[in-house]
Amino acid sequence: MKHAFLCLCFLLLTACEAQTPGVSRPAGEKPLFLGTEVTDPAFSPDFRLKDAEGRTHALADWHGKVVMLFFGYASCPDICPTTLFRAAQVMKLLGDDAKRVQTLFVTLDPMRDTPDVLREYTRIFHPDFLGLYTTQEETPRLARAFRLFFRINPGETPQSYTVDHGVNTYLYDPGGKLRLLIPHESPPEALATDIRTLLR
């Protein structure tokens, strides 16, 4: 019995090791990142999404760059513009390093966020930000792949619905691996610090 328990402990430990290659640290050591590490080979969603010009994109398009991705919709009254505003501040804080970061705003409301809306909406915050979308049918599947909470609340008219959604920002390292989840409250300075660490 005791052996079995030790075995289990060992297995759990090795499992943890396997999940965080290269980032495991002895207990008590200062963490490498300010955001929540999610480095896990089983959870690093890729995607095939269109931009406003109709070009299809996947993570590989930004190999060598940190990808900062979040979901939202243009009719969102405050969380989404705040997230985009913070992303723009992060770009400013990064200075030259900003060239090695791609920000992606993925709409959860492709019906109202037409390509034209998406293009103008994202560019207001930063000329390099890219708005991406998929079909309405595919959007819930996309959210599931990102383990993202997503729900449409029907309104009184077909156009007046609202969208509930997860507000974390996903950070991918330059190798295209999902590494960090950043909460909405996290300040731009913390994001910039973590992005610099990922770029190192």
């Binding site: 243009a74 009719s75 969102c76 009254p77 405050d78 969380i79 513009p81 705040t82 985009l84 505003f85 723009a88 109202r112 037409t114 034209d116 809306v117 103008e120 909406y121 207001i124 915050f125 909470f149 729900r151 609340n153 309104g155 009184e156 008219t157 156009q159 007046s160 609202t162 969208v163 509930d164 959604h165 997860g166 507000v167 974390n168 909460p183 909405h184």
Partner: protein
């Protein structure tokens, strides 16, 4: 007297850049009443005149004070945005409806941010306690202006009407003006 729908003078707005309510816009009373009840409207008229002289000193005219009203700008094709302000009631009131010429569907909503999820719900009735300031601000309560026909540009002025109910279920309308702020402006 029966429940009477009437229009109060403009809600007092205390923004530095906004003019105080003008007396010319003072009460438009509904006088579709029997002749025998004329005394009532006359008293109201007199009160209205007094309000004109002492505006904004009249208690009637100041049941609701609205300050720092603003609306977030939109891009072409975007059909919804939020309106934000501070509401201070001078008596127990409830905000029951919002109207705006630019939006056929203006609703009061409450946004919640819990466990990394943003949710939004319609609020049918918002109680406003006496002498308390209620914030309609990003991250919480706000007015959703939906089905917008045209984009709102920074610097535009949007006219809104708040419909407020007092303890006697008497409804009063407060017209106000909100300035449009840039989409990428920092949160005030």
């Amino acid at each position: 007297m029966m429940m009477q729908r009437h229009r109060e003078p403009e809600a007092r707005q205390e923004d530095a850049d906004k003019p105080r309510p003008e007396c010319a816009k003072a009460p438009k009373r509904d006088t579709r009443k029997h002749f025998a009840l004329l005394a009532g409207p006359l008293v109201f008229l007199f009160a209205g005149l007094l309000a004109c002289f002492f505006a904004p000193g009249s208690a009637q005219a100041q049941q609701l004070v609205v300050t720092e009203a603003w609306v977030r700008a939109t891009v072409s094709g975007q059909t919804a945005t939020g309106a934000f302000m501070k509401l201070t009631a001078q008596a127990p009131l409830a905000l029951v409806a919002v109207r705006s010429a630019i939006s056929p569907r203006a609703e009061l909503h409450e946004m919640r941010h819990e466990n990394d999820v943003m949710t939004m719900r319609r609020v049918e009735r918002l109680p406003l306690k006496r002498s308390e300031t209620t914030l309609l601000a990003p991250g919480g309560l706000h007015i959703m202006l939906m089905e917008l026909a045209a984009p709102l540009r920074a610097g535009d002025v949007v006219e809104l009407t708040l419909v407020v109910e007092d303890e006697n279920a008497r409804r009063t309308e407060y017209p106000l003006r909100a300035t449009v702020r840039a989409l990428d402006a920092p949160q005030p």
